[in-house]
Symmetry: C2
Subunit: 439 residues, 2 copies
Amino acid sequence: MARRGRNGCCNVLHLNEDNSRFLLLALVLIGYMMFGALLFHLLEKEAEERARQKYLNCLKKFRQKYLNIINETDLIELLYEYGNATANGVISGTDRWDLPGSFYFVATVVSTIGFGMTTPKSISGRMIVIIYGFLGCSGGILFFNLFLERIITLLAYIMRRYHERKIKRDNQRRDSLYNNRRESCVSVDDRLDMNWKPSVYWVMLVLATFTVLIAVSASAVYSVVEKWSYFDCIYFCFVAFSTIGFGDLVTSQKNSGLDPCNSYIYRIVNFVFIALGCCCIYSLFNVTSIVIKQFLNLLIKKLNFRCKCWRKHKAPVLTQVARSRRNALTPNHLRSYAHSGHKTVKVSVAADSSDVDSTYDSDSERRNSNEMICMKDVIKTNKVSLAILQKELYESAQRSRCYRSPAILLPSKTTTDDFNTGTVGPLAIVSKKLGEEND
Amino acid sequence: MARRGRNGCCNVLHLNEDNSRFLLLALVLIGYMMFGALLFHLLEKEAEERARQKYLNCLKKFRQKYLNIINETDLIELLYEYGNATANGVISGTDRWDLPGSFYFVATVVSTIGFGMTTPKSISGRMIVIIYGFLGCSGGILFFNLFLERIITLLAYIMRRYHERKIKRDNQRRDSLYNNRRESCVSVDDRLDMNWKPSVYWVMLVLATFTVLIAVSASAVYSVVEKWSYFDCIYFCFVAFSTIGFGDLVTSQKNSGLDPCNSYIYRIVNFVFIALGCCCIYSLFNVTSIVIKQFLNLLIKKLNFRCKCWRKHKAPVLTQVARSRRNALTPNHLRSYAHSGHKTVKVSVAADSSDVDSTYDSDSERRNSNEMICMKDVIKTNKVSLAILQKELYESAQRSRCYRSPAILLPSKTTTDDFNTGTVGPLAIVSKKLGEEND
């Protein structure tokens, strides 16, 4: 990635890459919203006019029919009260603030869906919403983030397993052909372990499939119980799962004709569907946002946004050193994949350490001394390489923890368990940068 | 933290700590929601009943007055149409699907606020909301996460600067007292650089102050223009900023009596307030969720949730080794802060590398060789320590990047710029675990 240019817009504006990406996203979002505004204006303007005309016609007809009979103020008062009653949801006949209804309300607060089918009217109620919502929403965000972390870990694990098995099969086939089993097997395995990560697009596809499956099955239930059209149910699912929650369609508000027992079951099923859907779509949005970030990076590149990521006078020298020393980090039987783009730098140090484990008695001595000489060399020559080494070591440790054999898995578990959960979600920013007390 | 016990509930259920924390949070949230349901049921039940009675009384009065004059079906039809018109927002007189109104609608989709004052009625409109919202919400989440990352970085930087200045002042005072300037200054500085992070609670306080300031000034504007009570404005601010968006109170919906020019300015001010408020409260929620996570960890500890984080038969041996070797990582002039609790393990390796820089010619040879011997030792004896070393090296690199002198700052910038943005937000999970293409 072009990050060291000196003529880019970022440099002119004295922005580093993070700030320029943030501003660019703001601009792109505003453009996207303007486009959306135009789109929905064209789509919905007519329907709005139709709805207004329909109501006005009805009112006109009513007035003409009862001209001079009905006092106008009486009518307006009735309509006003009716409007209030509709807004408060007291027309439907079913209680909205009974215990299950209150639970539904609270769930829409915690998840930030906020349908608004029931809202507190009293001052005390509104005050408590603020206090209750503050804690509840924080808990809800934590829940979504922990779910995201769990599901991504699971998906990455499964995909990597599948990939490794495929590679192993390929290797065995090739080895039996070339009859050179031992050597090729080790080197190819090492290379793949180090480099392979599941693609964002695959994970996106899997999450999208989950979400669609949940929406489709939820809609099947809703369309029967709520008597909405199937498409409306899909629309409701999207609006609810994404926590937008317009409130134009809300489940469990009408008397659906279910007997009390089934009604309770329906409420629970509804809750489970919405909770699952919210978690899945939250994960999906986050994975999609990575793709959007890539698009932004591409845009920055295209717009010649060359960023002032370090000070001009030192940069070229340091890069040179970093580049030239990088090869010294790994003995020649290990491969160094130094990729200076958006992908992180990958060097197979963990592969080495696991190799050490499996072939400990035979040649670990040589390897270790080899590695030591390199490190010493690096540190003596320039600290730049130490920074690279630090990152590489850490990354390989991270990766090895996920799919290595137990012998390697266990020791890293020992020390990196907190680390694992702490570097995940928006929590990452906070827990990395801030001290955590009380623990 | 007790993570190696063998009699805890986690072990019985075969859960690791991450999973048990996730499940515990789910349980706590459900408990919290049940409590909330009861609370709001008690608070709002009466108001609901009152609202219903008020409407029914009005209807009864109207019916009694016009008994035998008005055809009941006509009245019901009128009320039904009126209800629809209210729901569609066509009563207020102002267009809701004009361009600014559409923009407002789209902004509530992208931010997932979803007031629902305007919702698409046509099938095509609803279909497009799904497609448009999918991209828009992803972009919105990315925006919030990038904002979170920016604000936390800024706050941590400012707080660290302030703290360092304070420490330096203290040191100078003490040094002038003890007349032993050079030595004590270096050691104390190093120790603080390595260990000090701004407290979660301070950042929470600062963010809460920001949010309250925005809400207070926004409410001052709203209470004048919308003619709501000041408290209602505060309530609206909370509901909008937290992206709950009930829609019981929505700005810019009535004809406020502003002239067209002021009306546009008001819309823009409204947009800026809501955007800023959403970003701030999102950050606040995320920081608060860290505190909730700490509470959960405490709860796990209290409940004797001793987790099966590694396999039983190897665990004790490995810990022993890890413990006994840990001291070997750093020569005795560097301090090792091995903290096995929720705080991450901190060893001052970066301090060493910066020391090497400042005193390079004099004694770097000795230090490097010292370090090398230790590392070699460690790797030879057990890989456990390598995992610890990896983490320590990485952490010190991360920390040194934030506030070290340029000489140290630049090299790490070289390699960890992607890393920095990639390890932040929920993006962290995804970009760490998944391969990113197209870059």
